[in-house]
């Protein structure tokens, strides 16, 4: 039993806090009435996930998560909300279909239980040896060797995405 006040205990506590943040953020993200709040929830959740990555020995990915997800994707989504959020007063009045709600709850419940049970009961073939060092060098190496093709492809995807979104957003824009 680790003491709460030992360094290890503090780290454990921090982890619990992160878990809480992640879970709460996710819950807010799907249940909040106003879209902007669910964006805030999503961001909270993503920050939590970044923390989890840090615990998984990859600070690089954690920081990238902050930089890309929170800083870029989050801002883009928040921006989209600002551009097009329907009237907050209007939203709750629209009745949800109870059947959809039940169905959603059921599906997700089944998925969660299934996955959790699967994760907890499977005997994973443990990797022997030291955990990955999380350094950038290894990631860089593999990006430019083994996964260079994927790397190139993702840049093409991004390029296409940029061009596509430009085209989409530009259409119908007339100068006043």
């Amino acid at each position: 039993m680790t003491s709460l006040f030992s360094p290890e205990g503090l780290i454990g506590l921090l982890f619990l806090v992160l878990l809480g943040i992640t879970a709460c953020g996710a819950l807010i993200a799907v249940t909040a009435g106003r879209l902007i709040r669910s964006v805030a929830g999503l961001l909270l959740c993503l920050i939590g996930v970044a923390g989890l990555y840090y615990f998984l020995n990859s600070p690089f990915v954690a920081l990238m998560q902050l930089l890309i997800y929170v800083g870029a994707v989050g801002v883009v989504i928040a921006f989209a909300v600002m551009l097009a959020e329907p009237n907050p007063e209007k939203q709750p009045s629209r009745g949800r279909n109870p059947l959809t709600g039940a169905l959603g709850f059921l599906t997700s419940g089944v998925a969660f239980t299934g996955l959790a049970v699967l994760g907890l009961t499977t005997t994973w073939r443990r990797h022997v040896g030291p955990p990955p060092d999380g350094g950038m060098a290894a990631i860089g190496q593999s990006l430019l060797t083994t996964y260079s093709m994927v790397f190139e492809l993702i840049s093409i995807v991004l390029l296409v995405a940029i061009i596509g979104s430009l085209v989409l957003a530009r259409a119908g824009r007339e100068k006043p």
Binding site: M82, L83, A84, E85, P86, N87, G172, R173, P176
Partner: protein, 372 residues
Amino acid sequence: MSVLAQCDSKETFVLNLGPQHPATHGVLRVKLTMDGEYIRQAEPVLGYIHRMHEKMGENRTWAQFMPNTGRLDYLSALSYNHGYVLAVERAAAIEVPERAEYIRVITVELNRISSHLVWFGAFILDLGGFTPLLYAFDDREIILDLLQAVTGSRLTYCYFRFGGVYNDIEPDFITGTLAFIKRLRARMPMYHNLVTKNIILVKRLKDIGFVPAEMCRKYGATGPVLRGAGVAYDVRRAEPYSVYPELDFDIPTHPEGDSMARYLVRMDEIEQSMRIIEQACTKLPNGPVMAEKAPKIIKPAKGDYYAAVEAARGSFGVRLVSDGTNTPYRLKLRSPSYSNLSLFGEASRGMLLPDALALMGSLDLVIPEIDR
């Protein structure tokens, strides 16, 4: 509908600039119908500082209206003093001694410089630069000291009288004025280096806010706005009054019609005013400063009278209707900013908000003069 959603190109939203807004220099309200940051329609809403000057004119004697003229346009109060006394002198056929005329010209031109300095500072303040304002105020304080020594007030002068001026100037005033002009001459390059040539300012003013000559004509805009569109109309030359015909000065014009042109016209006008003052100081004759024959109680003959002067913002006109009594029957003040602002709606259409504010700043508005 969310606020930004309304910015979408098919839908617009209304942005209220003012009545208390840092850019409107007082209490102007501009109802902007915006399309994103583009202006679809701009409608100035006036009257927030309507002070009933014309009504007061009908309630007071001719002389008692004098202090009001100083409060119409507090930045160049003396020009307004001048316009009013010119009109009444014309109506009552009062001759003004030459020395008084020269004193009027010197003080009015000093006041014009101080007005342009405030405009300069406030304009740059609109564009986000703070320091030039204080440099301009620094110079302006000296003018105010000079004028205060003569007139007793700093801002809302009530110095001119029918037939002359309130009191004579002292010799210090002339030396002080000449010293000030020397100083300002030396400072002008600094202003140009700090502000006029600044790339950010050039980018913000050049080719922004076109007010072509034809638009000025349609709306009756005068003064630097018109001269910034290339028309050399200046009441001082067009309908010479006072001793301006005896003084040598140019009418600066810039044909581009953009905000930069109006800016440059005013900067050049400061130089021209300095020239006028220098000449007037050397030509200043001796003699009385009040007409001896000026009647104590003014009762102009029945009829209409009009007098115009070139105020710092354009042509200021006073239309008097006298019924032969000691109070005006009707007193109409034609204020330049009123006409200059009326074109804002058309000129700003399709502009971006910051550009429209640069345009508004370059019109040089003084709201009490518009609302009267």
